[in-house]
């Protein structure tokens, strides 16, 4: 994939400032985001010939033909579409595939868009969701009523048993990102918290407390990608896709590997290899944080620390923009800023803002290389992008 490195760029980015969008259909919110990203790029809807969306999940407004439904709603007939849904990191995977499509000539201007409105969405989870479907592989698990959080709890508990990770170390992740959110006027939760606050919050699914869990907000965002050549003529500084990798692993809990390796151990090295970089080259990182354990496992699989070492790594303040060597989730992340359900697109948007120097909150000075990493489901999938200016 090395030939793809730097061939395409993100030329427009937009995150809706909304955190509550009562009675707003997610497609209407997507339109706000798409027009926002196109305005940012200096492009028009008529320039768009590629559309990436994964909008058929709960609270996303679409169904099994989501990309058609969305194209119809916004009023375009793209020649390249991609609705691959691998959960929260879908938009990072789609960015990599859009780059390939652009390089191959399938499309010139691709919009990647996402919105969800879980705070008011009136319908229940569709029966075809793999986490509620008691047929096939799920017949051996769904009857026990696992929750999304209890599955993350299984990972966190085993990490504690295998590697000596402590609840305090998990809590430090939430504390650090809340510190970043305090500077972001768009963030849902901005009041600083302590490790003790996290440990004193109600237990949701052990060992995860309420403050180990992300916020639930409405929200959305969009990106515009094009070729390196076209990017040069547009109004914003191009942010090049230097590296990309994705991988899928499992949906069933029984298939969780003993040592907790996640598909990030595949997506990360692929992205670094394509970029010709190593973790030491990353100036700023946005790593999906649905729960405090989520970025910890990613840090290990991506090679920022060794297997089992993420507890001491985060406890040392490494992720803090103020003094840490790997400023991470500078917008406050899913734990404090926003989390409508599939937060991957925001890891790309905040990466772009950091590299362009227009972040809404904390700005890492002179950042040249950013990593955006996401996962889907319960470490079921992973996608990693390395962006550079």
């Amino acid at each position: 994939m090395k030939y793809l490195s730097g061939k395409t760029a993100i030329v427009g980015a937009y995150e809706s400032p909304r955190r509550d969008a009562p009675r707003v259909h997610p497609f209407a919110l997507q339109m706000e985001c798409i027009l926002g990203a196109l305005d940012d790029a200096g492009l028009a809807l008529t320039d768009v010939d590629g559309l990436c969306a994964a909008s058929g999940d709960w609270a996303e407004g679409g169904g099994t033909m989501d990309v058609i439904e969305l194209a119809e709603y916004i009023g375009i007939q793209p020649t390249y579409v991609n609705s691959t849904d691998v959960g929260g990191c879908s938009y990072i995977l789609q960015a990599g595939q859009a780059a390939a499509a652009i390089a191959a000539g399938l499309a010139e201007v691709v919009v990647i868009s996402y919105a969800a409105c879980p705070r008011w969405w009136p319908l229940s989870t569709p029966s075809f969701d793999p986490f509620v479907f008691p047929a096939g592989p799920g017949q051996y698990e769904i009857p026990y009523a696992p929750t999304l959080i209890s599955t993350y709890g299984l990972f966190a508990r085993r990490h504690m048993d295998l590697y000596g990770t402590t609840p305090e170390q998990l809590a430090q992740v939430a504390v650090t990102f809340r510190g970043h959110a305090a500077a972001n006027p768009q963030a849902r939760l901005r009041k600083p918290i302590t490790v003790d606050d996290v440990l004193a919050s109600p237990m949701i699914a052990s060992p995860l407390h309420r403050l180990d869990c992300c916020v639930v907000t409405d929200g959305g965002g969009a990106l515009v990608m094009t070729s390196r050549e076209r990017a040069r003529d547009l109004k914003r500084r191009p942010v090049y896709l230097a590296g990309y990798g994705a991988a899928v692993a499992r949906t069933q809990n029984s298939q969780i590997p003993d040592d907790l390796t996640t598909p990030a151990a595949l997506s990360g090295p692929r992205a670094f290899a394509m970029a010709g970089m190593t973790p030491a080259d990353i100036d700023v990182a946005q790593i999906y944080d649905a729960f405090t354990i989520t970025p910890m496992l990613a840090l290990e699989d991506l090679g920022f620390c060794g297997r089992g070492e993420s507890g001491p790594f985060v406890e040392a303040g490494t992720l803090a923009a103020d003094g840490g060597s790997l400023p991470t989730n500078t917008d406050g992340g899913g734990l404090s800023s926003n989390h409508p359900g599939k937060r991957g697109i925001f890891t790309l948007i905040e990466s772009v803002r950091q590299l362009r120097g227009d972040a809404p909150g904390i700005q890492v000075p002179d950042a040249k290389v950013a990593l955006a990493h996401g996962l889907g489901g319960t470490f079921c999938s992973a996608a990693t992008a390395i962006l550079a200016v």
Binding site: Y144, A145, G153, L154, P202, A205, S206, P207, S254, Q255
Partner: protein
């Protein structure tokens, strides 16, 4: 067995051609897993093919029903009535890992490595759902 521990288990599995022998055995209080006829290796969850030799059809074998606790999470807040309840990964003696529920152990006593044995909850006339308990009380099965 009281109904208390089964209140959250209201979603019934949907058996199919492949899984029918598993659920038939569960009704009789036996826990089946699959073994590859070519490699002799076990697999879980059950499939129509062997993941170790994809053209081979797995054979059913009765597991010992004994294992140990690998990891767990006690669900305190869920949309399902009946919490708290304990979701767990159980490593069977045969080496495969299954996802199930743990019963009969106080939350404070849960720890990795605890010995466990299978028991069955009869949910209706066709489905008896396996769960795991300490071996000393596993005989309380209502299958």
């Amino acid at each position: 067995m009281t109904a208390m521990t089964t209140t959250a288990m209201t979603v019934l599995p949907i058996p199919d051609e492949t899984s029918a022998p598993f659920w038939e055995a569960a009704r009789e209080g036996r826990f089946l897993i699959q073994r590859c006829p070519e490699t002799g290796r076990y697999q879980w969850y059950p499939r129509a093919h062997s993941i170790h030799a994809p053209h081979a059809t797995p054979e059913w074998v009765e597991a010992s029903g004994r294992g140990e606790l690998l990891s767990y999470s006690v669900v305190h807040r869920s949309n399902t009535r009946g919490d708290p309840y304990t979701c767990a990964l159980v490593r069977l003696e045969e080496g495969v890992t299954v996802f199930s529920r743990i019963e009969g152990i106080a939350e404070g006593s849960l720890r990795a490595g605890l010995p466990l044995a299978v028991a069955f909850h009869r949910l209706d006339e066709t489905i008896s759902l396996p769960i795991f308990r300490p071996p000393s009380i596993a005989g309380g099965s209502d299958a």
